[in-house]
Amino acid sequence: MEPFERYRPIVDDFEAFLAACERPLGNAVRVNTIKASVERTLETLDEDGVAYEQADWNPRVLRLETDSPGSTWTSFHGFTHGQEEVSAVPPVVLDPQPGERVWDCCAAPGGKATQIAALMDDRGTVVANDNNLGRISALRFNAERLGATNLAVTVDDARNYSLKRFPFDEFDRTLVDAPCSCEGTIRKNPDALDNWSEGHISSIAGIQKGILRRAIQATREGGTVVYSTCTFAPEENEAVVQHALEAESCRVVDFDIGLEHSPGLTEWKDETFDESLERAIRIYPHQNDTGGFFVAKLEVTAE
């Protein structure tokens, strides 16, 4: 937990934050509406005697009271998918519509890509890309288990992604759920901080900037780009969005999510960020008893 000391000045109730980070996380699942309604899923869980609690902010997110959420009928049928509660936030903020063209540029293992497909009623096109071939098999497995038929899966570096293979040349919406230092997953992966270093953060921030810039370029004017990470480091969050604001045509926009959160930062160490970064959100583990996340919603503007 030592690396987290650097966040003492920016986190309200820092001791509660640290205490939450020490607690393991419960089992959360997302209802996959491609295969079953929320009602039918809850009925199936009831029949199975699996207790659950529905999240206030999203009726499709359930906290299950079982040690093996993968061994339920709802899981076998693909009615539910194990997905951390905050990890279900970015697709909701992206708000994809049926029939649209959507890019999930760092998609493996596919929890968010299949959530995007479900929010689109499995209509339209979701291009699910990842640069890691090993993780693509997990993405494909999850997509087929969950019955998503509108996914096109590619393996490429998102930073110089080409749309040449598709019959369209821009996306309506893009999710950049960037590779990151994963500090916010500490409750699920107690060894998340084992290789922590400021050098690692700075090198991964360079990759994040490249991906976010390409995502904005590949999205139509008036379209939406959501940038998210599961880490607290401002270098990987506000600083990356700041870079995009300076280099590309876009602005940060407001959104409501119904979860307790803190606003994005406008300064960190000796850096200052655009005031609009207050519209981004930081979700800390002690606020909703979840993992940690950062989410910013961008609108692509005219050049």
Binding site: E43, W73, T125, R140, G147, L151, A152, P167
Partner: protein, 169 residues
Amino acid sequence: MTEQNDGQRFDRLPETPDERTVEGRASREEVVDYFADRFAIPPETFDDYTFWEKGAGKIWIYAGEAETPLEIEAIGMTCLRTRQEHWKPTTDFAQRFGREATECVIELDREQARAFATGEDQELEWWDGDWGYLIGAHRIAGELEPLGVGLYVHGELRSMVPKGRQREL
């Protein structure tokens, strides 16, 4: 008819057998007819989908936009294995589209469904329908829900649920 299937890319199925340019490739019409003849899945179920082949005989169903041919990892889901005497639907297809089926669906009770999901073969001599590939299903939350594909021969239902999809329930 001299072209061969290229296993590295996706090719959209021809509409009818007459439009076939690749040897042995199934047509869209034959695929939709198969699902209708075997399982009574209404052909209009597939109006908004396209069918593709990548890998010899492996048919994929896709709802998104794409041009043929296409060299990417995957589109939609694998739905059917052709280029063999008896075509075989996938478990994931059966779960996704099997609710539309009214024939060759074998209703299992809870214990039989559990055995099916763990990949076990079981003696079910009461079945008086067709032999061959069936959709295994059970009743949950008041409705019949498809579990996957089984092969029925000589009074025995063999679960075809792939290893990675099998579960101890």
